[in-house]
Symmetry: C3
Subunit: 443 residues, 3 copies
């Protein structure tokens, strides 16, 4: 049985550049937790992967929450007393506080100011603000823009609708040999913000696209959902199937130049935690591991105590730790193809480690087998000689005792997972190992 | 159900000053492991708390030991050949080696010197010495005093009695809702020494006084006992009740300026250990944690392998680590009201943590509950807004899985116990949590 | 019951010097994995200890391996065109690649060079090379020697035999009270190389000699075997008895000036691991602990997953970490009597710790026993006062709870094992302890 690595099988050329182009295509769309921007986004993704689009009606109870009204905007602006638009939603969808209720009214600056939000420390940037569950309205603008406002009357217009409709999310299920699932989840509720989280959407999309033609052991479930309410909705609708999720990653903030940060699952010691730590460790790059905290992205829901799923979050710079976070500066200049490509590559390595984290028994457990007579030692033939590390073979043989799996062995040996995997593959070929199958047939 | 913290409930004003005054009142009394000095001390404490005084007759077997004869002193001095008292017990009760047998005899300096003890490195200080279980006599004096002794005949007089009597100790039992006990133990056998251990006596007394009017979950047992033999006696007489002790602290050396030192219980991982470490950690002050060693104060007895009680020792500078230890320099200048007050405050925080270290279940364990609709999130009303940390709420909700208790959660969250306790109180009020009661009714 | 330490009982004077002399005697012999050099070596060892010599015929299957043909050499040389011997096996047995097949042939330098091995970085040294399982021939020489070779015809003569015979190994079984065994294993297959591993042979020999007259709790098994194939052979022939091995050490590289290095057993947490770490730690010397890796000496076989024996390797500088390793520079100047003696002493201390790593119960577990009345405390009599540390007594009493053994106590107390052992001996004498026997009678 051949066990080529996922990295060897995936043939998506210039994937960083392609991810960047997808981000650029999605950037102008005004997304929120509901509405047409989400639908438009998901339709674009359907050009890449056969995404299923779900609509969940307003009012549907999902655990402690309720699907909110659907929000859409036609236009929104502030005009000065000359009738000039000084702020226009057409220029940037960040200008409008998400879920702003409709209004059309003249008011003096003093009254207006209570609804204006700026970032005095970054006077050129527009902040990103929402008011999902408290009916209100507001505009975000740069501090420089605000400083040009005069003490005069302004006309405010928000032509939005907040009414019965539905919450929209996308789902793509890629079946593998087992029903056990690997969950990849990203949030799609942010408007023109690139790193958070168009980068996550692009990475999940290209990962899904790349895996589609491959023979896979696990089944993969990709979720493109609005943050918080989307995860709660999916969990509520799929409660009976959740037990199948054996590993998961929340993808967010993977396009900036920062080092990788992995936030462990609530379990803290899950296979996904070991896999990501191994891959980051062997990269030789700087990285950071943080323990689970009940704040952040949708791992908050997946790791709530009633589910406690083995879901971590692999990102670059965590939310709130970069000034551009949730501002107009998280734009197409902030993310770069090479960083996206590096993130894609890390995800692929992690998935490969999980796919191939198998358990073997050494069929020759008493003393070492004679590698020389099988031409496995010094005298390895041709091409394999370069890739198969004899020490990796000794580690796999010594630790294949029905207890250790390949990730455990890589960690003990302090060798890259790929070397351990390649050694195991060769030893299996030579009938020195036998796989111990996890009893997990398709149900 | 309200869960105000002990710190909020205790209303003893200027407690450091009051503890210092109690120390000053007890300072002149000559105490030993038996005798009238101990009785007098306990009678003074009865002015503060309703202490029960126990007398255990000489000769009573207590495990491997036997209650010794009772020792009392009327007078003790050394006169020179002119009949002048060069050393007088009236001036300092440290002058007499504790448990010195009676003697009235003239002798040359050479013979006398075998019974004189000084501290050459600290020539102005008088050492503190005992000879409980080997009948002997001796005087302690400053090295300066000794240097003035001439080669002449001296008259030694020790008018002490060593005869059948009893060992005296004080006990105060403060019942709580449960029969499970928190033990606070201090030694009362030292004469004019302030930090070791009048500071411990004062702290235990004011702790007992402060807790008395409060509703308490645990029952509290305060022991004022002579060191070693007192603890052995109490354990021997109360062997059948010892299992009720669920937590305990030996109080000693809490009046000096040193940083806090916590010596862990023999178990090393007991709830009391977690509580003290949490409180010291969150204080932001410098502190030291040391593992259990079978040497020190009465935790030696409580933590003997036949009992192995969860009893630690929270002190400032440990015994033997400051030069003033067991000398006349451990006097009223060495301890200070502010250090006593700081120690009192730490003990109270530890007791509060144990009292409130409860276990809850999140009644909404699947995904986060919607805090916003309960006005618990951003929009918290009035005063509570200032004290309830939303992150603390998320931690309590996420970890209230019938496994973690509040101390565990505080440690995981790296947040002060008070914040976690306040968050739990609010969530309980909002019916988002339910307490899991420890099945421990009054028997 | 007396428990004197092994160190007190062993009376081998100047053992470092004697070990060095044994090394010097064995140095000239040409050893390999089979052949007369091994037999001669073992016969010399029989002058020291009653070694049993085993012969296992060529062709015998041993697990995945087969006993190879026996190899012997009469002479081997290279002559130049003048008929002068430029390389002669008589000068150094390292000149001949071990297991070289017979050859007698003239050839030009170019052809010869493919069979010549040197160390360009150390031009004066001869490397050590073998070709056990691939039939071939070759000569090792200094790079300086090679540089004098001219482009002319050379005559190569290797008068060796490679034919049916046997593999020879030595075994010495020293019975103790229990059938449980302590294994000491060293490899004997290297020719004139002192540190690797004549030092190991000498240490094992003198250890065996020293222990022989002593009363021992464990039975000791000393193996003098060719590396790899010897260990595999012994394990194959003794498979049914292997379970008796409760502790083991592979002895190698114990004569150089380097600090001690202990490679832990595969189990990693075995009693032998604790013992060695304790002894190295308490020495105050610099040392290094490394985790098991499936590469090194014969622990590779003892720790293969089918056996997983608690066998570590206590050496000085590990193989490959010193330039003299496997070269002619690993000679009689490289090892020194004082380093050999230091290694002997560490092994003896480790064996003593294992022999005396007993478990006791405190017969007075409730509170401390009164040491004073037994003259055990301050007032200890005469000589013992100097050796018995009262704190060690308190530790042994406190931790003798039927769970901790003396090595555990020494580690907790951070006291030398000898002090803990002496304290236990005295407390046992005073009937304050009782040993808990391990139920392991002679079967």
């Amino acid at each position: 049985m051949e066990l080529p690595s996922l990295q060897e099988q995936v043939r998506e050329e210039k994937v960083g550049r392609k991810m960047y182009e997808l981000i650029a295509k999605l950037y102008p769309i005004c997304r929120s937790i509901t509405g047409n921007g989400v639908r438009e986004t998901l339709h674009i993704l359907q050009q890449y992967i056969p995404l299923e689009i779900h609509e969940v009606p307003t009012g549907t109870p999902v655990f402690d929450w309720t699907i909110p009204k659907e929000w859409n905007v036609r236009e929104a602006y502030i005009k000065n007393h000359l009738g000039e638009k000084v702020i226009d939603f057409q220029n940037s969808n960040l200008h409008l506080v998400s879920y702003s209720v409709p209004i059309k009214k003249k008011m003096p600056l003093a009254e207006l100011k209570e609804h204006l939000f700026t970032l005095p420390d970054h006077p050129a940037w527009i902040p990103y603000r929402t008011s999902y569950y408290q009916e209100d309205w507001g505009f975000c603008l740069s501090h420089t823009q605000l400083s040009e406002f005069k003490d005069e009357e302004y006309e405010v217009c928000i032509d939005s609708s907040l009414k019965e409709g539905s919450l929209t999310y996308g789902e793509y299920y890629l079946p593998g040999v087992m029903q056990d699932e690997f969950l990849i989840s990203c949030h799609i509720c942010h408007p023109s913000l690139c790193n958070d989280n168009l980068s996550g959407i692009a990475l999940a999309t290209y990962l899904a696209k790349s895996l589609t033609p491959l023979p896979l052991r696990y089944s993969y479930r990709f979720l493109f959902i609005p943050g918080t309410i989307g995860a709660i909705t999916w969990l509520s609708l799929n409660e009976g199937r959740v037990y199948r999720i054996k590993h998961g990653l929340v993808v967010a903030g993977v396009g900036d130049s920062g080092k990788f940060t992995y936030k462990k699952s609530r379990q803290g010691n899950a296979e996904i935690d070991h896999a990501v730590i191994q891959i980051l460790h062997e990269s030789g790059e700087n990285y950071e591991i943080i323990n689970f905290i009940p704040y952040g992205y949708d791992e908050r829901q997946y790791c709530s105590p009633g589910f406690d799923l083995p879901v971590g979050c692999l990102m670059r710079t965590p939310h709130s730790r970069y000034p551009e976070y949730h501002t107009s500066a998280d734009n197409l200049d902030f993310v770069k193809p090479e960083f996206l490509e590096g993130s894609f590559s890390k995800y692929l390595s992690v998935l490969n480690a999980i796919e191939n984290n198998r358990k073997y028994v050494n069929l020759n457990p008493k003393c070492e087998p004679q590698l020389g007579k099988r031409k496995l030692y010094d005298g390895m033939e041709g091409e394999k000689k370069k890739v198969i590390d004899p020490l990796a073979m000794l580690w796999v043989l010594n630790m294949s005792d029905a207890e250790h799996r390949l990730l455990d062995i890589a960690a003990l040996a302090q060798l890259p997972f790929d070397k351990i995997q390649a050694a195991a593959r060769l030893l299996l070929e030579k009938k020195l190992l036998k796989e111990i199958k996890i009893p997990n047939p398709k149900r």
